[in-house]
């Protein structure tokens, strides 16, 4: 395992976006940072700026106003980036499915790498999801041109 993929596995920094969620998933996500669950054990840090983040955690239904913001934030993140959809609303609209202001799942707005179901998912489920993501993360292929730019020739991958 190369240094780079090792370091990516060990250090997923997450940026959390609440895209019109009911707070349930958000407080469970925050709860997973607190002493009982402590995802910092896995190297996870909640970072304040999307520029610093590796993983975009999205909760909620992505309503008409948040859709654009969500796209902007996704674009602000540097490659390689991953998107995790947390909770029923982010997966498919959840209980608000077919409401007039609701997107049925955020994967209609941005590409999603991992889905964590639940309404809301327990912190254990969120941690399990992150572990899963750490499993898949290094395998995600970058665009060749971008990889050339970032990693440079000869760097371990």
């Amino acid at each position: 395992m190369g240094l780079l993929s090792w370091s990516r596995k060990k250090s997923p920094w997450i940026f959390h976006v609440n895209a019109a969620s009911c707070n349930g998933c958000d407080i469970e996500l925050v709860a997973s940072l607190t002493p009982r669950f402590d995802v910092e054990r896995l190297g996870v840090q909640l970072v304040p700026s999307p520029r610093h983040a590796d993983v975009l955690v999205v909760t909620g239904t992505a309503n008409a106003l948040m859709r654009e913001r969500l796209k902007t934030i996704y674009e602000q993140m540097p490659e390689p980036k991953y998107v995790v959809a947390v909770g029923a609303c982010a997966l498919g609209g959840g209980v608000y499915q077919e409401c007039y202001n609701v997107t049925n799942g955020i994967d209609k707005v941005i590409p999603v790498d991992l889905y964590i179901p639940g309404c809301p998912p327990r912190p254990e489920a969120i941690m399990y999801g992150i572990l899963k993501l750490l499993g898949i993360a290094p395998e995600k292929e970058l665009e060749p041109a971008l990889e050339e730019e970032i990693v440079g020739a000869g760097a371990s991958k």
């Binding site: 309503n63 008409a64 106003l65 077919e98 007039y100 202001n101 609701v102 997107t103 209609k108």
Partner: protein, 152 residues
């Protein structure tokens, strides 16, 4: 509510009053709504405007101004025709009504004359279709609105 207070309000406002449980319903004409709100608020005990409810009743849109006094509700009811839903804004007398009026203006398309929010889209997203009915009106259809907004 004390009978004399009720009768004072009904005679002054040409209103009709009905009472049930701990709430009193005072039906007034739409043109007297500001006067009614002022009278209620001048009665210092009813300063708390809980909210304004609006309902699409087919031909008319009814508005309920709920005031709370510690043990009982006083609801001032009025109605505007759906064909021309215009009503005087009460924000002069009741600053707290600002947001409640704004949400009704957006969700039911009632125009509040004199409200600082007049003419602005308040509640709904920027790309809410202009030709679709307000979402809480009976004739609105969520599936259609979704399609028009391009959410699917």
């Amino acid at each position: 509510m004390e009978p004399e207070r009720v009768s004072r309000l009904t005679t002054a406002l040409e209103a009709t009053a009905t009472q049930q449980r701990n709430s009193t319903l005072l039906a007034v004409k739409p043109e007297r709504i500001i006067e009614a709100c002022k009278m209620v608020v001048e009665d210092r005990e009813f300063y708390h405007l809980t909210t304004i409810t609006a309902i699409d009743e087919g031909q008319v849109i009814s508005l309920f101004y709920h005031f709370w006094r510690g043990t009982e509700f006083l609801t001032v009811k009025t109605a505007v025709p759906k064909s021309d839903p215009r009503l005087q804004s009460v924000t002069e007398a009741l600053p707290a009504a600002l947001f409640y009026e704004a949400e009704i203006a957006d969700l039911l398309g009632v125009v509040f004359v004199g409200s600082p929010m007049t003419g602005r889209k308040l509640l709904l997203p920027d790309n809410y279709p202009t030709d679709a009915p307000s979402p809480l009106r009976k004739e609105s259809n969520p599936a259609q609105i979704r399609k028009m907004m391009g959410l699917d």
